[in-house]
């Protein structure tokens, strides 16, 4: 085999993976492109017309858009935190313990995923109204709903990481004086972390992108997807593309900064020795 052949062989999986990633980004390239679109000639036409910086200079120009973004991000973060925590706990219970009612609990976990969103949204609204909260619909009711549908996704994701994890490491930790709590934080958590991170990312994207359930329980609050949906009825403001691109850049910056920081920390530790 030639050197080139070997190189390809070694990197084939990575190359294919990157291709899939590329595929996932096709719409985002369009979005990035459109963020420079001057749509003032024809607002309805979602097509590139002419270049402009305007959208980037006034990203918040469309009335209410940035406010809706703020709402969506806050709800997304809160829903992610809460659902990740309680979903992870539940995943632990389901994987690590055999208890009465376990199969019922399992069913409960994936029923919400099997429920059409429209059904979930409207029946939840009925519940809020029955509880006399009809007038208080808004941020908190959206949050409650989002946490509810994120839980299942978190449980399933964390569970697939947790099952089959070497419990000997946890036992070793306990042997070394770590109580259940410390064992969890020092050993289990770091080992399950990729699963928890994945679950959190899923939860955030679910919450951030949800339209149907939110729409029912939002009262007069407008989330970003609601704004876009409404705006799309007569032509999406090009600033939406700016936000889409910015969100993506922000996410990336966030991880890269985190990565750099953790590496620097690691290096600091070594040199301190």
């Amino acid at each position: 085999m030639t050197r080139v052949g070997r190189w390809i062989g070694r990197h084939l999986a990575l190359a294919l993976g990157l291709l899939v990633l590329l595929y996932m980004y096709i719409p985002n390239f369009i979005v990035a492109l459109m963020s420079f679109n001057d749509a003032s000639q024809s607002r309805n036409l979602y097509q590139f017309q002419s270049f402009t910086w305007d959208n980037w200079l006034n990203p918040c120009a469309p009335l209410g858009m940035c406010e809706s973004l703020r709402v969506s991000i806050s709800i997304g973060l809160l829903a992610t935190i809460v659902s990740t925590i309680i979903g992870t706990l539940a995943a632990f219970a389901l994987v690590r313990h055999r208890f009465e009612g376990r199969s019922t609990a399992n069913l409960m976990v994936f029923l919400p995923m099997a429920t059409p969103e429209i059904v979930m949204g409207s029946s939840l609204l009925a519940l809020f109204v029955a509880a006399g909260l009809g007038g208080q619909l808004g941020f908190w009711t959206i949050l409650v709903a989002h946490i509810m549908f994120c839980i299942s996704f978190v449980v399933v994701t964390v569970r697939s990481r947790l099952s089959g994890l070497d419990s000997n490491l946890e036992k070793a930790a306990m042997d070394l004086y770590a109580n259940e709590w410390q064992t969890f934080w020092r050993v289990t958590f770091p080992l399950v972390f990729p699963g928890i991170l994945a679950a959190a990312l899923l939860a955030f994207s679910l919450s951030f992108d949800d339209f149907i359930i939110t729409n029912f329980n939002a009262g007069q609050t407008v989330t970003f997807p609601m704004f876009v949906w409404g705006a799309a009825q007569r032509g999406v403001p090009m600033q939406v593309n700016v936000i889409g691109t910015l969100m993506f850049i922000a996410a990336l910056t966030f991880v890269i900064l985190g990565e750099v920081a953790s590496r620097r920390r690691a290096r600091g530790k070594v040199s301190a020795r």
């Binding site: 000997n168 490491l169 306990m174």
Partner: protein, 382 residues
């Protein structure tokens, strides 16, 4: 039991039993007292239940029956992290996400020790891991990983330290050095060590007491010297070192008390064995003699050995083993005996295969075992 004994923190296992979910009983009603501050070695063939026993003591596996006490405290159901016990795991169980230094300081940190740096430094030096401190376990060689497991447990200086083959992956030199360290730490602080090892020499030189375990049970327990020189069963005789077992018929018992002896006919020669070395009631028995006690000399040359004497043996095999040579001798009655001879250089070369030799041993080193036991017990069939 006296009051003084009660106050001591001996490790006591009573009726300890472990049945695995698949129904297999790995440990069968084990009773054992391991005195505080002793260096206790647990020996036994692969799969006999050693690891399982240690895991129950550490609290990592719940016993099916029986109790575990340290002194007067019943720790049978105590949580692992509340037991004054640490373990060196057979499969290491290192934390893959932590560096070596972090692995080692894990225990002290959990107990709230503030400044662990100097302790960690010291124990890493001891285990020759200083240079690996910042690496992750996956970047270490097998022996290095084992040393991390050792360091990680040792740093805690627990009341009871369970060592499950802690030195198996180390080369001889390093193993010896570690043995000395272990022994030093154990004596210095008066810890109780329970040590599983496959290195018999290690068990012999380090342990105060050795227990030989077989199929979930303890076969014999005693000082290394006792166990080696006076085994009670064919299993122990074969498992600890090697033994020549020769069929014999009891022809008489004489004397009483310390002087009592048993006379046994062995292929025509009557040998005398002290009653304390006789472990059978029946009229037949296995006469046991260790290979290093078997002396040989080419037929015709004088043999400096007052004792049992056989001529007519032939060397059927000779293997050089560095310090000594192992000879196989075909005896007149057809059995093969094994003989070790140190390569002192005195003989100026090996005794050649085919040489006729005279064989002798001193009768006081022989022991008599029950003939109903399998002479091959403890030797793996091929």
């Amino acid at each position: 039991m006296s009051l003084a004994e009660d106050a001591r923190r001996d490790l006591r296992l009573a009726g300890l039993t472990k049945r695995y979910p698949n129904g297999f009983v790995a440990v069968k009603s084990l009773d054992l007292v391991i005195p505080q501050g002793s260096f206790f070695a647990l020996l036994g063939p692969s799969g006999c239940g050693k690891t399982t026993t240690l895991r129950m003591v550490a609290g990592l596996e719940g016993p099916t029956a029986g109790t575990i006490h340290i002194g007067d405290t019943d720790i049978t159901h105590e949580k692992p992290f509340k037991r004054p016990v640490n373990t060196v795991f057979q499969n290491y169980a290192l934390f893959p996400h932590l560096t070596i230094a972090e692995n080692v300081e894990f225990g002290p940190k959990r107990r709230g020790v503030k400044d662990t740096a100097s302790q960690v430094k010291e124990i890493l030096e001891l285990t020759e891991l200083t240079e690996q401190a910042a690496k992750k376990p996956a970047q270490l060689s097998g022996g290095q990983q084992q040393r991390v497991a050792l360091a990680r447990a040792l740093i805690n200086r627990p009341e009871v330290l369970l060592l499950d083959e802690p030195l198996g992956a180390l080369d001889l030199k390093l193993r010896r050095a570690m043995q000395i360290e272990l022994k030093r730490i154990q004596e210095e602080v008066g810890l109780t060590f329970v040590h599983v090892t496959h290195d018999q020499e290690e068990a012999m030189t380090m342990a105060d007491t050795v227990a030989v375990m077989n199929e979930g049970r303890i076969e014999q327990l005693g000082t290394p010297y006792d166990l080696y020189t006076n085994p009670h069963t064919t299993f122990v005789a074969n498992f600890l070192g090697r033994s020549n077992l020769v069929k014999g018929t009891v022809v008489g018992r004489e004397g009483t008390g310390a002087d009592a002896v048993v006379k046994v006919d062995m292929h025509g020669t009557v040998v005398t064995i002290k009653a304390s070395r006789v472990h059978t009631e029946s009229s037949e028995g296995w006469i046991g003699i260790r290979p290093e006690k078997v002396l040989i000399q080419p037929a015709g040359t004088p043999l400096d050995a007052p004792g049992n004497f056989f001529s007519g043996a032939v060397v059927s095999e000779a293997s050089y083993m560095g310090v000594s040579t192992e000879y196989h001798l075909r005896m007149p009655w057809g059995q093969e005996l094994i003989c070790f001879e140190q390569n002192t250089g005195r003989r100026g070369g090996l005794v050649a295969v085919g040489t006729q030799v005279d064989v002798s041993w001193r009768p006081e080193f022989a022991f008599l075992l029950d003939s109903s036991q399998d002479a091959g017990a403890g030797i793996e069939e091929e």
